[in-house]
């Protein structure tokens, strides 16, 4: 079902159902949904900046890589940008495969690559002011496990 980059909210239940309804020959669907986390002291807004054009290309490349590496019936990535509030849905991935191992592994791969290879930047606006979310070393390290031996 491809990739979608949008400011608008989406209903992850409806998206998961629509995804599952159109896959052919799959016995397993895995979905992951990311929400805006509450931070101590009160997060009022999560602002997500992105690089229009490169974002879509990067997500397409990550999805194509997952489809090439695992036996998948389909894969979906939805990622929002703009102003979000605590509890809002930020993004989701869905993978469908004949067996669950491929669907789980591909979903984890998509998430690991989204974290540090898709051009999004998060800024938290809280009671103490606004600050850019720092990239975590472990997110970069998480990519190592997907490198060919």
């Amino acid at each position: 079902m491809g990739v979608r980059v949008q400011a608008e909210p989406f209903d992850f239940g409806a998206e998961a159902n629509a995804f599952a309804a159109q896959v052919q020959g799959a016995g397993a669907v895995v979905t992951f949904t990311g929400l805006v986390r509450d931070i101590p002291g009160g997060l009022s807004v999560m602002e997500i900046e992105h690089y229009p054009g490169m974002t879509e290309r990067a997500l397409e490349q990550i999805r194509a890589e997952a489809l090439a590496r695992w036996s998948l019936a389909d894969a979906l990535i939805i990622h929002r940008h703009g102003q979000l509030a605590a509890g809002d849905t930020i993004m989701m991935v869905a993978t469908a495969a004949r067996h669950r191992a491929d669907a789980f592994a591909a979903a984890e791969f998509l998430m690991d690559y989204l974290k540090s290879r898709a051009p999004f930047w998060k800024k938290e606006h809280g009671a103490a002011g606004a600050q850019w979310v720092a990239a975590k070393d472990e997110d970069e390290a998480a990519l190592d496990r997907w490198q060919a031996p």
């Binding site: 990311g34 900046e49 690089y51 054009g53 490169m54 290309r57 990622h79 930020i90 993004m91 998430m111 989204l114 974290k115 540090s116 290879r117 898709a118 051009p119 999004f120 930047w121 998060k122 800024k123 850019w132 979310v133 720092a134 990239a135 970069e140």
Partner: protein, 84 residues
């Protein structure tokens, strides 16, 4: 001389104070372009002070600071990405 579209995102955009600009340059590599920009004004020098905290994309593909600019139209500078 070539004309590049140079884009800035996140804290790089905030420090430089604009999201994109046209830059006429003879820079051979990304590092040469960074040196030219840093020599312009303090806000550029501040934005590029720590290159280990920055990433670069050439024509919307992640690249590196030693990459050549020949044939490139769009250069983007930004901090490590925080998607997901």
């Amino acid at each position: 001389m070539m004309r590049l579209d140079v884009l800035y995102f996140a804290f790089v955009r905030e420090r430089i104070g604009l999201p994109r600009e046209k830059v006429d340059t003879k820079a051979a590599t990304v590092a040469d372009l960074v040196a030219e920009l840093m020599a312009r004004e303090d806000r550029y020098a501040a934005a590029f002070a720590d290159l280990s905290a920055l990433r670069v994309a050439l024509d919307q593909e992640l690249s590196s600071f030693d990459a050549p600019l020949e044939g490139v139209r769009e250069v983007a500078f930004f901090p490590p990405m925080t998607g997901g």
